[in-house]
Symmetry: C2
Amino acid sequence: MQRYFIEQDNWQDGEIKIVADDYHHIVHVMRMEEGDTFIANRHDGQSAICRIKMIQDSIVEATVEGWLQEESESPIDITIVQGLPKGDKWELILQKGTELGAAHFIPFQADRSVVKWDHKKLKKKLPRWQKIVKEASEQSHRTKIPKVDYVISMAELINKSATYDWKFFAYEEATREYQSLTLHNYFSQIEEGQSVMICIGPEGGFSEKEAIDLRTAGFQAIRLGPRILRTETAPLYVLANLSYYFEEMRC
Amino acid sequence: MQRYFIEQDNWQDGEIKIVADDYHHIVHVMRMEEGDTFIANRHDGQSAICRIKMIQDSIVEATVEGWLQEESESPIDITIVQGLPKGDKWELILQKGTELGAAHFIPFQADRSVVKWDHKKLKKKLPRWQKIVKEASEQSHRTKIPKVDYVISMAELINKSATYDWKFFAYEEATREYQSLTLHNYFSQIEEGQSVMICIGPEGGFSEKEAIDLRTAGFQAIRLGPRILRTETAPLYVLANLSYYFEEMRC
């Protein structure tokens, strides 16, 4: 069944209103009619089966028929922080990362990021990124849309990281270092409901200075398996591993 | 250090010859000179540090300086079988799947594949696909290049599957069925060195007939986490999980 994330303001006493892009999708893409049903997701992660009551010029009105018990959100609050990669890799990360359960995405300007973006440019990009995670959330049957944010500098990143329960960064050198640096060693210590920040370097990886700064700020260096992963593959590997450990192994 | 997969014929008594694309890459892209070193991977998965002895018009001659002990290959022999997806998704699967440790890729014509390819068209595509997995192998420091093959029909696919130790197919309905269908239940029974075939449907998933045929042929239906994954995300999820379980948890 088709899913839509409906803004808080458009829920009222068991009735919802659908406008803008979602209106277009329901009426012109799905060609739904009065009496048809869909799933509406609310801001708090609750979802409901809704039936269309009336289709007007720019509003669809629907009635909540029943609430669903869905468990498609990760029990871990995962933030992916990524050194800005080249081309459309960031959009790939947003889409796939949403399917794989991330709660929050933050790109940052790494020393070795080839792409240089300023605040202005980033602000322009945000709506597009938010659209990607919204659509991926609907498609993957999530009940919450991940947040997309941005920070420019390592200093800001380290500031943001202060509130997290766990902080990791993928450090290529770790691949050949100690066996103890696998994700698995840490996973067994993470508890449900905790927040985890995973920091991934851009194409050239982290600079030595960044690695020192991250370690100083309490980030643990982790290896991501025995092979060298591209920058855009690394977050997907971590997210799939977290899903396996916390959603599949434990159930 | 740069890596090249050198064909069997070009190894002889501690000397190797580099020709064609790899010659171009060493001489014109990397601009290496006599005395420079790189890593050469042999057909059997062994790799060696080599030093350039002589650069000629179309051949680089190098000497093996020492053999490496590398463990970048999965202990499980994994084959990804994929219902032909749309656009360039298959190429994304080849590249990322190689980074994540697959040994073998087989696309097949599923009932719901939007793309229809005949033998002729597929044969033309093979060299490009093989190039993608070769380059991804070099980049991810693998010591073996995955095989890319193709089958056209479900019958051929089932024939091929007969020799595998384990056979799974991702079945969307399984997501909401029994908890026992997680990958984890099976992983604990798989032994190192065994062969595993993972079959993923195209965008629309498997048809009911295909699901019946696969079950009859001994395939187990598995769920891939609690969210609905796109067809190109599904194999990456399975591969990352296999890597986590067999390469990270166990070491």
